[in-house]
Structure formats: C-alpha cells, structure tokens
C-alpha cells in the first residue's frame, strides 16, 4: 500500500497558519450548540464561549504577524503581516460588539442566542477576505460575511425598520456580488487562473484581447468592492441599513465589515499594481467624492445612527486615500498608515455605537439625536467616552484619529497626491460641525421627548466602552511600537522618525 494511500495530507497545509479562521468558525459552532442546550433565555454561556474563542483566535493571529509570508494550500490562503494584523482587527471588532450586545439585545427584548454564532461566522468570513489571493476564496469569505450580516440586520423581527434594513442590505449586497462575480469570470477568462498573482504576467504580456478583458474584469471587481466598502457613488444603502439594524450589529458592520472590505480591496489593488495607471484616475475621483459627499450629507442628519453611517462613508474615503497612496508609491509608503487608521477607526466607531446603544428600548427604537439628551446625567462615563470618541473622530491632537489622519496626509503628500491631501484636510474641518452635534445632544441640549429611553449602563457595555476608550488613547500613546508591529521591522525605523516630532 503506497504511503499516500493511507493519509495523503496536502504538503503545504499549515494548520497553525489557518488556525485563527478555524478557531473562529469552530467557536461559532460550539456557541450554536451551547445556545441549543442553554436554559431559557440565558445567553451567558454563549457570550462566554464566543469571548474565549475570539481571544484564542486573536492571540493566534497576533503571534504569527512576525513570521515570513507564506502561501498555503496551493495559494488558496496567504499568511502575511497584513493579513494577520487585519485578522486581529476583525477579532477585536467582533469581540467589542459581542461585549455590549447582550445588554442591548435584552433591553430590546430580542436576545436571540443565534446572534453570537452569526457574528462569529461573519468575522471568519472577514478573516478569509484578508488572507487570500484566490478570487473564489475571497468571494466565499465575502459571502460568509455578507449572508451572516443580512440575517443579523433583520434581527429585530417585529420592527419594520429592521426588516427594511435587512432587505435593502440583501438586495444591494446581492447586486454588488453579481458585479464581483462577473468580474471574477472575466478575470478567469483573461488569465486562465483565479489567482490574483497572475495579473502582472498577463498585463505585461502584450496580448491585447487578454489585457482588455482583464481591465474590464478588474473594473467590475472594483465596483463590487466599492459597494461593500460604501464608496460614493455606491453608498446609498449605508445610512438606511445602519439606521434600521440593531445598534450592536450596526457597530460590527461599520467596523468589521469595513475592515474586511478594505482588506480585500488591498489584496486586489496590490495584485493590480502593474495596471495602476488605469485604475488610479477613477479611484482618485471616487475618493474625493466619498470624502465630500460623506461629510456634507452628514451635516443635515437628525438621527445618531444615520450620522455615524455618513461618518463611516467619509472615513471610507480617508481609507481609500491611504490605499491609493500605498499603491501609487509602493516604495515610499508602507501599510502602516492604512492599518493604523483601520484600528483607530474601529475603536472610535464601535465606541460611538456602544454609547448610542444606551438608547435601546423594546419595539420601535428611536435613535434621534435627542435620544442622547441628558446622557451626562444618566451615565457620566458614557458621556465622557462619547466626548473622547468624537474628539478622535474629528482628528484633534490627543487621540488616535489625529495620528491616523496625519499619517494618511503625509503618505498622500509622499505619493504626490496633493489634491487628495487637501480634500482630506478640508473634509476633516467640515466634519467638526456634525460630530459636535453628537456632543451637543449628549451634553448641552435638553429637548428630550417624554419617552426618551433611560437604560442604565450594564457591565458589558461599560467594559466595551472602556476598552474602546483605552484603545483610542493607547493607539495614540504607543504609536511608535504599534506602527512598527503593523508595518514590519524593515519600515519601523522610517516610521518612527516623524512620530517623535509629533509627540
């Protein structure tokens, strides 16, 4: 009997490198089984299992960040520093959302235990999107993330807004997936492979039909991903979906889903580096439009969740600037600014949504800005935390948002994208107006309706808020070492130099 007959394991199968994804998926399964066996309506064990699993997965991913890049299973997966850092971010986003979920869902009387396995699987999908260069694997990861989120958006079954949110998200998400799939099909037609690494070879081959097919395929893939990352003009679903979805799910969408979509975009643009002259001009204008429209539309919002949705659109614009700078001048600009901004954005956004979740109530939920009135009396801790998150979202020195914007600004200048840098700076100034509306609602205004919700801050929300606040401050204080960790030892020296001057 030949050896392979007994146990032919694929040669390049590295269980530990795939570990974080496997652990998250398995934790989802265990959480589902625990949910089935639990006592009536007590989700404590489900939350416990989820938290432990996420911590293990996060530690596994973080421990591999320093190891050399490596392709697994014939290029289906890629373990590298960028992928590991994004995996840690995805796990952190899920963990923080899970922490403040239980209290919120209970308050809304929709404490279905299924929410936690679905959140875990969505996280696993996002982790796959960050660690693959195979288009079909990337697509499966994207669908795992999206399908879980469609269900989660409609979690509040009796609320018409939640159903509307789920349906809109599903229809537009399916639309975007169709674009993406068509692009992948054309990509396969042009390169004869699903591996992104083949782009350079086909593009430089001089075979005209293959080149044009590849360009159209890439354009369709980029359109599909622009939907997922909510770039203008593909952003219309975002405010409605965020407003209707339960607040904890909206937090996870705004942070986790955005991180995953940007990570996948990074993989695609990284591979499409030789075609940069082709996709840079359109994406340049998309970035400007995203920053301008996101910030201007946010100015007139009366609902806290819609306001944060438009804020997430404008931050998507800043992230796109970081991506463009990264791939326009790959020798000068490292991944550090992009990853740092993703981390900083996740903490600020989840924190802001966690503050809004104190407005939770059963049935129809009002998240108008006036729902936050008197927050400084009801929950001083949440009000102070909100102040910190807004501080950071605006980009005032003293919190991580400032460093993130500064890094992107510097990279945009280094990559000779001066117009983008200018728009970024102006947009940040405009954003002060609407972010201060949040602060005003929580600290100054008193126009509260008779039924303004008063939910005491529970332990989970308090913990999540504390971690987010610590994250925003920690990212600012330990910016040097963190940038070194995110960008790798080679570029750590180059990154540290300008940071000292900021301090």
């Amino acid at each position: 009997m030949p050896d392979r007959f007994l146990f032919p394991i694929p040669q390049d199968l590295d269980w530990f490198a795939l570990g974080p994804i496997i652990v998250v998926v398995a934790t989802g399964l265990v959480a589902l089984i625990v949910e089935m066996l639990r006592h009536k309506r007590n989700n404590a064990y489900v939350v416990g299992v989820s938290v432990v699993g996420l911590l293990v997965a996060g530690a596994m991913a973080a421990s591999q960040a320093g190891e050399p890049a490596k392709e697994i299973l014939a290029g289906t997966f890629l373990r590298d520093r960028f992928g590991c850092v994004v995996q840690v971010l995805m796990v952190a986003a899920c963990l923080l959302s899970v922490l403040f979920s239980e209290g919120y869902l209970r308050q809304k009387r929709i404490a279905y235990g299924e929410a936690y396995p679905l959140m875990l699987w969505a996280t696993a999908g996002g982790m796959v999107m960050a660690t693959s260069r195979n288009l079909v694997t990337l697509f499966v990861g994207l669908e795992l993330l999206s399908v879980s989120l469609y269900v989660l958006a409609g979690l509040s079954r009796t609320e018409a807004k939640s159903e509307e949110s789920a349906l809109k998200y599903f229809l537009l998400g399916a639309f975007a997936s169709a674009f993406l799939l068509y692009g992948i099909a054309l990509f396969y037609g042009a390169t004869g492979s699903l591996h992104l690494g083949r782009v350079a070879e086909v593009w430089t081959s001089g075979f005209e039909t293959g080149r044009s097919l590849l360009a159209v395929g890439m354009a369709l893939i980029l359109i599909g991903l622009s939907f997922k990352s909510a770039f203008v003009p593909f952003h219309q679903w975002t405010p409605d979906v965020y407003q209707g979805a339960p607040t904890n799910i909206a937090a996870f969408m705004a942070a986790g889903s955005k991180v995953a979509a940007v990570a996948m975009l990074y993989r695609v643009l990284d591979a499409a580096q030789p075609m940069v002259a082709l996709w840079l001009p359109p994406l340049f204008w998309v970035a400007i439009l995203t920053m301008v429209v996101g910030n201007l539309a946010a100015l007139v919002q009366k609902d806290a969740k819609r306001l944060l949705a438009y804020s997430s659109i404008s931050h998507a614009g800043y992230l796109l600037v970081a991506l463009l700078a990264r791939f326009k001048a790959p020798d000068v600009v490292s991944d550090a600014a992009l990853l740092y901004y993703l981390a900083s954005y996740s903490f600020m956004t989840i924190g802001a949504f966690a503050v809004i979740s104190v407005a939770a109530r059963a049935g129809r939920e009002s998240t108008g800005l006036s729902a936050l009135n008197g927050l400084w009396q009801r929950s001083p801790f949440a009000a102070v935390a909100l102040l910190l998150f807004v501080w950071s979202l605006i980009g005032v020195p003293g919190a991580s948002g400032f460093v993130g914007k500064l890094l992107i600004f510097r990279d945009a200048l280094a990559a000779d994208l001066v117009p983008l840098a200018i728009v970024l700076a102006v947009a940040s100034v405009v954003s002060v107006a609407y972010y201060l509306a949040l602060v005003r609602a929580a600290w100054v205004a008193d126009e509260s309706e008779a039924d303004a919700a008063v939910a005491p801050l529970n332990a989970g929300s308090g913990l999540a808020l504390g971690i987010c606040a610590a994250g925003v401050l920690g990212l600012f204080v330990f910016v040097g070492p963190l940038l070194g960790w995110m960008a790798g030892p080679r570029s750590a020296e180059a990154e540290r130099a300008p940071i000292v001057r900021q301090g």
């Binding site: 392979r4 007959f5 007994l6 146990f7 032919p8 394991i9 399964l29 589902l32 089984i33 089935m36």
Partner: protein
C-alpha cells in the same frame, strides 16, 4: 475593432426587427382567451399566480437543498474514497458533522413541523 462592433450591433437590431415584422405580416390573427392562460403540466389554473404562499415552504426548500447537496457530494466521494484515503474520509466526516449541527438546530427551532 470598433467598426466591427457597430456593424455587429446594427445587424443584430436589424435582424431582430425584420424577423418580428415578417412574422407579424405572415401570421394569422385569431385572438382567443384560452391562448393567454398559463399552462402548467395540464392542470387548469385555479387562481392568480401572485397569491400568498405559506412562508414555511421556504424553510423546507432550504433544508431540502441542504441535504440534497450533501447527498450529491457524498456519492462521488464514496466512489473515489479508495484513491483519496483517510484524510478525505475525515474531511467528509467533518462536512457531515457540520450539517448534523445544522439539522439539529433546524429540528429544535421547529423547522421540521408543518403547522406552528
């Protein structure tokens, strides 16, 4: 290249239009309400096609697809297991195990019962 494309599109539109025009000129015109009825394997239609369906059909349909795919996947694996070896065997076991969890979940939330 571009001229070829324009000619192609133009010929396509012309051909379509000409065919429709020709059939309109040639065919007899005898309207009859029976001709507009929907036809489904012989039975006579008894209501509008847009009537409401029981939502439970969809749960059943999803569960059916789930186990249909499982069966469709198990047959080829069973045939090729001699060549694939133990690793494939354990992978299939994992696959079936995942579906079993899903089956138990569906059973527990009442997905297998018709009326609730």
């Amino acid at each position: 290249m571009l001229i070829a494309l324009i000619v192609f599109v133009a010929v396509g539109i012309l051909f379509m239009g000409a065919t429709f025009l020709l059939s309109r000129l040639l065919r007899p015109h005898r309207p009859n309400p029976v001709k507009l009825q929907s036809y489904e394997c012989g039975p006579e239609p008894f209501s509008d096609a847009w009537r409401q369906m029981n939502l439970h059909y969809y749960v059943f349909a999803i569960l059916f697809v789930l186990f249909d795919v499982e069966a469709a996947f198990l047959f080829p694996v069973a045939l090729a297991l001699g060549k694939l070896g133990w690793f494939a065997f354990f992978e299939v076991l994992l696959f079936v195990g995942l579906l079993l969890v899903g089956w138990y979940y569906a059973k527990r939330v009442g997905g297998m019962e018709w009326e609730r």
